[in-house]
């Protein structure tokens, strides 16, 4: 996996050019499609390592492209969208997208999302280590600067789920369903409470979270601090 291949499906030539330059100069290979039909065909033919999919394609609704891809394609799909509305984003994530970027996006952000999507996909791990925070999923323990942190079962499950999907956004609904069960999807107050409690226990400054980052209106993202 030295030079992962990325399929870009976007009808805007400017964006394709920008993505091509950004990705090539960071050792990714790219193939490009300018509409949904071509994109679906190229995905089938090349089976790329990751797909960047623009939601606003001229010939087909982005969500339906996403669904068609997800019928067989299991590797990461990152959505590009000009709409910053949470509803669109949540809908895309619910339809199988791994992550999203709202145009205009920063190149650094794009690369970080691509890398973490690829990493999460290829390297399952049972120990997550991020600047002093160690989560051992086989022993179910969490250490902060070598001190054991006492977490309740729910707090641990929530943290482990976020950390396992490090770098990727998890929607409120997804977290509620996975941790509390399908009956709790609308009980977002539980999630708010447990996130606040977790932050108090693991963050140096709970109000300036470094590990569990808020994605406005969408969900939460566990961020790995790599320069530690």
């Amino acid at each position: 996996m030295s030079h992962p291949q990325i399929l870009v499906i976007d009808d805007e030539a400017q964006i394709r050019k920008l993505l091509q330059i950004t990705l090539h100069s960071n050792d990714f290979r790219t193939i490009e499609a300018i509409h949904a039909k071509e994109g679906l065909a190229m995905a089938k033919h090349n089976n790329p390592d990751l797909i960047l999919l623009d939601l606003g394609l001229p010939d087909e609704n982005g969500y339906s492209v996403l669904k068609k891809l997800r019928e067989w394609y299991t590797k990461p799909i990152i959505i590009l969208s000009v709409q910053s509305g949470e509803e669109e984003i949540i809908r895309a994530l619910d339809n199988g997208a791994n992550d999203y970027l709202v145009k205009p996006f920063r190149s650094g952000e794009l690369l970080a999302r691509i890398r973490s999507s690829l990493r999460g996909f290829y390297t399952p791990t049972n120990q997550i280590n991020s600047s002093g925070l160690v989560i051992d999923t086989s022993l179910r323990i969490v250490k902060k600067d070598s001190t054991l942190i006492k977490l309740t079962a729910t707090e641990y499950d929530l943290l482990a789920l976020l950390a396992k999907n490090e770098g990727r956004v998890l929607t409120h609904q997804y977290l509620l369903r996975e941790i509390w069960g399908p009956g709790y999807i609308s009980q977002s107050q539980y999630l708010r409470v447990f996130i606040a409690q977790l932050r108090k226990k693991i963050e140096a400054e709970p109000n300036r979270p470094e590990y569990i980052v808020t994605e406005s209106g969408v969900g939460y993202r566990f961020v790995l601090n790599e320069n530690s």
């Binding site: 910053s84 949470e86 509803e87 205009p104 309740t152 079962a153 729910t154 409120h172 977002s188 107050q189 539980y190 708010r192 409470v193 447990f194 996130i195 606040a196 109000n207 300036r208 979270p209 808020t214 406005s216 209106g217």
Partner: protein, 359 residues
């Protein structure tokens, strides 16, 4: 005045016309021994004339007919008959209709002219607003566009002559300009959401601590070393409101303060819960707003008269629009010693589960 009486509805016009004629006749009747019946005719005529200044032609005609008949029946000698014997009285009787008609025609004409003048005025106001909009927009949009075009031209045409430092500076300028454009376009999009009335708040539970720090995190480039104090009430409940709208409200208020306050000033964000309302206060120790402009700052495209910094005058009107979309209120005051205080008050469901929930 014109507008007011135009809005007086038809039914009211009829009632008032009839009642005033009856009232005047009644009063005259009780003192008819003291005044001659011709004086009564004059008084009634004045009444009809007054009515015709304010009301439509039909109520005026009815008032005229009623006065004529009342006068004829109750006041002309040989009372309680409709008989008119003297030629003067016949003339007087007809006078009611003449006066009523003439007045009505004049009033209608005047009103039409007023309407035209009003429309003209309105057109001028719209034009003025449009010009302000064009001026501020063209400035706010063209400046970053010029920066981008100019900088990229330099980079393309004289790459070999530019030092690394200058190249870096040009790139920074391009980046800054692009973000500025992005912000202005977002503002315009948000404003059109407010204008079209399509904002449907999506209420869900959230922690105000998160909103405040989300906002500060998003503004960290602008904040740099400007001190921002955060005072969030302890044991604040969760609120059930639209996270995105509340975020945008607070973002715009803090961003606005950062743009306009002097270097030494401090911004304070206070979050409170009063009864079942979310209470957000953003205050600063700057110079405050000119008292006569306080009521205007929430109007779209309004910019302070002596304002020099960039801005389209949309930020605060978006705040107002979003607050009102959630049935809340926003107020602006000056503090005794200068700075400005924005107070937001939004009714909300509360949940204290965060204070009791422990497994």
């Amino acid at each position: 005045m014109d507008k007011h009486f135009q809005r007086t509805n038809k039914k009211k016009q009829y009632t008032i016309s009839i009642l005033s004629v009856l009232l005047v006749s009644g009063v005259c009747y009780s003192i008819s021994d003291l005044i001659g019946y011709r004086v009564v005719a004059l008084l009634l005529l004045v009444t009809v004339s007054l009515i015709s200044i304010f009301f439509d032609i039909l109520p005026v005609l009815i008032a005229a007919v009623l006065s004529a008949l009342l006068w004829d029946f109750f006041f002309i000698p040989q009372k309680f008959t409709f008989l008119i014997t003297s030629a003067e009285d016949v003339l007087m009787f007809l006078m009611y209709f003449v006066i009523a008609l003439v007045n009505a025609v004049f009033t209608t004409k005047i009103r039409q002219m007023e309407k035209i003048a009003y429309k003209q005025q309105e057109k001028e106001n719209t034009l003025k607003l449009y010009n302000t909009l064009l001026n501020s927009l063209s400035h706010e949009l063209k400046t970053p566009i010029s920066t981008i075009i100019g900088s990229t031209d330099n980079l393309q045409l004289m790459a070999d002559k530019l030092s690394e430092l200058h190249k870096h500076e040009l790139l920074c300028e391009i980046s800054k300009a692009a973000f500025q454009l992005n912000r202005q376009v977002s503002n315009l999009l948000n404003m059109s959401r407010v204008e079209s009335g399509v904002i449907k708040p999506k209420h869900d539970w959230f922690d105000m601590n998160e909103v405040v720090h989300d906002v500060l995190n998003n503004l960290k480039d602008q904040i740099k070393n400007k001190p921002i104090q955060v005072v969030i009430k302890e044991n604040l409940p969760l609120f059930k409101l639209d996270y995105d709208l509340v975020f945008q409200i607070l973002y715009n208020l803090v961003h606005n303060a950062l743009l306009y306050i002097p270097k030494y000033a401090v911004i304070t964000i206070r979050v409170n819960c009063r009864l079942d309302r979310l209470n957000i206060v953003v205050e600063d120790t700057g110079n405050g707003f000119p008292e006569d402009e306080i009521d205007l700052v929430f109007e779209k495209f309004y910019r302070l008269k002596n304002s020099s910094t960039g801005g389209t005058g949309l930020g605060l009107s978006i705040v107002k629009g979003f607050v009102e979309a959630m049935n809340g209120t926003v107020r602006l005051n000056n503090m005794m010693d200068g700075g400005a205080v924005f107070t937001i008050d939004i009714p909300s469901e509360l949940s204290y589960i965060n204070l009791v929930a422990q497994e």
